[in-house]
């Protein structure tokens, strides 16, 4: 049940999509998102969809996995779609029934919005599917390195993120264990109204929090014992290096964004 969470999941592989520098991939996703919000017409969206399709093909990630990633946000997608469908007004109505009116602009907006969110989520997931969490944090740390000058604790944030990622599976396993233990004492998580259900979570959440604090305390001691003293003077096992493929990929990314902007200028 809890093990089905796909967020942050990584599918190891050896394709170009896997081999790209994490910084390149983060930048490409940023370019992709900017381009998505700039796209205006059918041709623009088609170009974005095509880009994603090509990337998915290269990465060899199954389209099924990508679609499964949409499941948790299905509600938001549908909600956005309906909101646009019913509340964007225009002079020409395609359909009218009582207070429910659907305009042509509404329909158009709804389709584009839904498409935009879906492409955005699938694009981001494609990055997390092809990049190990640790190199992702590494890439983020290096990209944001410049912010250190403004006293942004970049190293600490990256360390927190990677520890959080490290402990997700441990805490999921622990939650399962505590649930089983409380079920063995007759706890009932399924029946009752929403308040009763929320109350039934206390026997899980209290032990889980206590254990998380204990773990944090022990981990801090263990890290100190291994000479951790912040980011100063730290070296790395893996040093990130831009290769030729990274420059090529970034160039393509910039060109696609430029193309979208041109298409936007012509309103298609």
């Amino acid at each position: 049940m809890l093990k089905d969470i796909t967020l942050g999941q990584y599918f190891p592989g050896t394709t170009v999509a896997h081999k790209l520098d994490p910084r390149t991939k983060i930048l490409l996703v940023v370019l992709y998102i900017v381009a998505l919000f700039c796209a205006k017409g059918v041709v623009g969206y088609a170009l974005m969809a095509l880009c994603l399709a090509v990337c998915v093909r290269i990465s060899k990630v199954g389209i099924k996995q990508l679609v499964r990633g949409l499941k948790p946000v299905l509600f938001i997608i549908i909600f956005t779609g309906l909101l646009n469908l019913f509340f964007v007004t225009d002079d020409t109505y395609l359909f009218q029934w009582g207070i429910i009116r659907i305009s042509e602009a509404g329909l158009r907006n709804a389709i584009f919005m839904v498409l935009r969110i879906m492409l955005l989520i699938m694009g981001t997931f494609l990055m997390t599917y092809t990049t190990s969490p640790i190199s992702l944090t590494d890439g983020l740390e290096r990209l944001l390195n410049g912010l250190k000058r403004f006293h942004v604790p970049v190293h600490e944030l990256a360390m927190m993120m990677s520890i959080a990622l490290r402990f997700i599976p441990t805490l999921i396993e622990e939650t399962d264990k505590i649930m089983s233990a409380q079920k063995a004492r007759g706890a009932d998580f399924e029946s009752g109204n929403i308040i009763q259900k929320a109350k039934a979570l206390i026997p899980i959440l209290v032990p889980l929090f206590i254990s998380a604090f204990r773990r944090a305390d022990e981990l801090a001691t263990a890290m100190e014992c291994r000479c951790y003293h912040g980011g100063e003077g730290r070296t790395k096992l893996h040093i990130l290096k831009y290769e030729r493929r990274d420059y090529i990929a970034l160039t393509i990314g910039v060109l696609v964004l430029a193309a979208v902007l041109v298409l936007r200028y012509f309103g298609i």
Binding site: S180, K183, A184, R185, G186, P207, I210
Partner: protein
């Protein structure tokens, strides 16, 4: 003796239809008799944990049945909670499941779920606390103020308070020091003797199993490898060792003595019994 639990051709397979498909329990059959003290031993990964979670219906068999008092526990899936009250399961490191403000309230969690109230609830809680050696003045304390060993006792009391017909303990003494281990096992032995409750003890420690149980079930890679009294099982000590399992140190001494040509039966597991055998050597003059 009547069987209270019957495990019939039990199979549990994880990840059906994925490349990770794996049977943790495969076609396992055995009976647990009313009032007996049964020990289950096996490696990590032998299927112990999966097996015991079937006994109180936390896991559902992929195939096969678990009968409690002759009735399939999954006959009425809606009443599975009743099975959990009748078969009390104490997990490994149970102190990590404590959550209430006071020791009393934590012990009362199980019996309250059972629907017990008032005097009956109070009696169950106090009885259980007494059984594991928690003093009355500790009942109003926060469980988190207690020492590690005491926390574990409180967690054990939380299951005993449901007054189950079968008590299943998964590694109850893990991480305790020798005195703590012996104290806790003494509590469990007393409970078994006084209440005539069926007790199933899962442990890694052959010594602990040998000293406490009437019958041993040895598991190996999802199957039952052996079953019998401690003497019967340790008579096959060679097989246990080849299966990568421990035998009690006393048994190993007896085996070494037999190898040296002394007339010793290696199926012993207490120091006293081996001492008597060695003393008998001189009296009988049976040295070859």
């Amino acid at each position: 003796m009547e069987p209270i639990l019957q495990i019939k051709n039990l199979t549990h397979t994880y990840g059906v239809g994925t490349p990770f498909q794996r049977s943790a329990v495969e076609d396992m059959s055995f009976d647990v008799y009313e009032g007996e003290f049964l020990g289950i031993i096996g490696h990590t990964g032998s299927g112990k944990s999966t097996l015991i979670q079937h006994l109180n219906g936390l896991l559902k068999p992929t195939a096969g049945q678990v009968l409690l008092g002759g009735k399939d526990i999954w006959a009425e899936p809606k009443k599975i909670r009743d099975v959990r009250f009748r078969v009390g399961l104490v997990f490994q490191y149970p102190e990590y499941q404590l959550f209430e403000e006071t020791v009393y309230k934590d012990i009362a969690f199980g019996p309250t779920n059972q629907g017990k109230t008032g005097d009956e609830l109070d009696r169950c809680v106090r009885d259980a606390a007494r059984l594991v050696g928690i003093r009355d003045d500790q009942l109003d304390k926060s469980p988190f103020e207690l020492s590690g060993g005491q926390k574990r006792r409180v967690a054990l009391a939380g299951v005993l308070a449901m007054e189950p017909e079968v008590l299943v303990l998964d590694e109850p003494t893990a991480g305790l020091d020798p005195a703590g281990r012996e104290n806790l096992m003494a509590n469990i032995r007393d409970f078994h003797r006084n209440r005539h409750t069926t007790v199933i003890l899962v442990s890694h420690s052959m010594d602990e199993i040998a000293q406490n149980v009437d019958r041993i079930l040895v598991l190996k890679s999802a199957h039952v490898l052996m079953s019998g009294t401690p003497a019967e099982v340790f008579a096959r000590a060679d097989e246990l060792l080849t299966a990568g399992l421990d035998v009690p140190q006393v048994t190993r001494i007896a085996m070494a003595l037999k190898e040296r040509g002394l007339d010793i039966d290696p199926a012993v597991y207490t120091v006293e019994a081996l001492e008597q055998q060695i003393l008998a050597l001189r009296k009988g003059g049976a040295v070859c």
